[in-house]
């Protein structure tokens, strides 16, 4: 039963001056800083969510009977045991077994295991920091070469990419009708090629460096080579941004968006 006196008393207490708090002299600065942090958190969460989806694809593949390290059959892609031995060209294979660490053709100093990081409450992969070198003129040309070499076969793509990117790569191959990255990332002109640290997005916020630095470490952001590709004059949302590292003289793609 509601008592009017009690309601009035509550109104009175809720309107007491003691609830007042001093206003901030720097309100604009505080709000803008918080808005920037919210934008970064949203961007990180999106990346982490994508990585989680990709991990959900790749982890079952490993659990589904991946060969032991050193098994010669481990190199490259092959259908899983439950799949037909030879997929028909019109039907892309539904499952792959990834090369384990140090499998022939995938030495551990070039293809070390990625680091699993907890970002915004979800797990995602970052490239290992081992054997990472700065980009030279030659290695920057290699990055451009990687772009044109991608998309011919899964085995070829695995050799051109870091293990941190393999979940996304497998997703492309399984979900893209067996076409890998060739259609989604290499179309259009190269609009930027250079260190990530120097990149300013053409129209959008320059958040990619911060995203990598916060998510995986500033060492990686500083060691990253960036290629931006897309139709000339397209909006920032239509551009492909591809991130590379130089590991022991081998240039590897580790992230694309």
């Amino acid at each position: 039963m509601v008592n009017e006196h009690e309601e009035d008393r509550l109104r009175q207490l809720l309107r007491d001056d003691a609830w007042s708090l001093p206003a901030w002299p720097d309100a604009g600065v505080r709000v803008r800083r918080t808005a920037r942090r919210q934008r970064m958190a949203t961007a990180s969460a999106s990346v982490a969510a994508c990585a989680l989806v990709a991990a959900a694809v790749v982890l079952p593949l490993r659990l589904a009977g991946g060969p032991a390290p050193g098994d010669p059959a481990a190199a490259g892609s092959r259908p899983a045991a439950s799949q037909p031995a030879t997929p028909t060209p019109s039907t892309p294979p539904q499952s792959y077994t990834l090369p384990p660490v140090n499998a022939p053709g995938y030495p551990a100093d070039i293809y070390p295991p990625p680091q699993l990081r907890l970002l915004s409450g979800t797990l995602s992969y970052c490239p290992s920091g081992s054997n990472v070198r700065p980009f030279s003129q030659a290695s920057s040309e290699q990055a451009t070469g990687v772009l044109t070499a991608l998309g011919h076969s899964l085995d070829g793509d695995l050799r051109l990419t870091d293990r941190a990117f393999w979940p996304a790569l497998i997703k492309e191959w399984l979900g893209g009708g067996g076409t890998g990255l060739s259609l989604s990332t290499t179309s259009g002109q190269m609009l930027y090629t250079g260190p990530l640290v120097n990149y300013q997005s053409l129209n959008g916020p320059p958040g990619l460096y911060g995203l990598i630095a916060v998510g995986c470490g500033s060492w990686l952001a500083q060691s990253t080579w960036l290629i931006v590709a897309g139709p000339d004059g397209s909006s920032p949302a239509a551009l492909n941004e591809l991130l590379f590292i130089n590991r022991g003289g081998h240039v590897l793609l580790y992230y694309s968006q």
Binding site: L14, A18, L21
Partner: protein, 174 residues
């Protein structure tokens, strides 16, 4: 965002800040939590402002604050309920007023976040139950039942306060 947009948001923030801080303080019972809540909500409003100015930005910010607080309380609020029931005896009117306020603050903090939000929106902001229901994403019946439960939980405190006011004092806390 244009300079005009920045200016209009800054103007809005400065004008609404005292009321929002007060609202946050009542909602959370804590000055620090109130500041954080207002800051987060205004930042969200700024991002929305950049896309398109909201029809009623104060209502939008209040809604963000209420929902953010309910979410936080679900994560951390169980600790609040472990506080003991305050016991006070006071004869001085000014001191009693302060103690009543402090007692209400602590009593509000012990309420579930939904009940607290309903009470604050109903008795501080004077919003009708239908508007509160829309803001909280529930039915007006739920709002009424939450208000009723919240008032019932505060009843000993409110009854004692009413008795003080009516000059019958002394009952509360003894």
């Amino acid at each position: 965002m244009t300079n005009a947009g920045e200016d209009s948001f800054a103007e809005f923030a400065m004008d609404s800040l005292p009321a929002l801080l007060r609202f946050g303080h009542v909602l959370t019972g804590s000055p620090q939590e109130a500041e954080e809540l207002v800051q987060e909500a205004l930042a969200k409003c700024l991002r929305r402002w950049r896309r398109q100015a909201a029809d009623d930005p104060v209502a939008y910010v209040r809604r963000v604050m209420v929902n953010a607080h309910i979410t936080r309380w679900r994560q951390w609020g169980s600790r609040m309920r472990l506080e003991g029931v305050p016991e006070t005896v006071a004869d001085d009117a000014g001191l009693r007023r302060c103690e009543d306020w402090d007692e209400l603050r602590r009593a509000l903090r012990r309420l579930p976040s939904g009940q607290r939000a309903v009470l604050v929106l109903r008795y501080l902001e004077d919003l009708p139950d239908a508007s509160i229901a829309t803001m909280l994403g529930c039915s007006p019946n739920t709002v009424r039942s939450q208000a009723s439960r919240g008032l019932a939980a505060l009843r000993p405190l409110l009854a004692a306060g009413t008795a003080h006011q009516a000059g019958l004092g002394g009952a509360h806390g003894e």
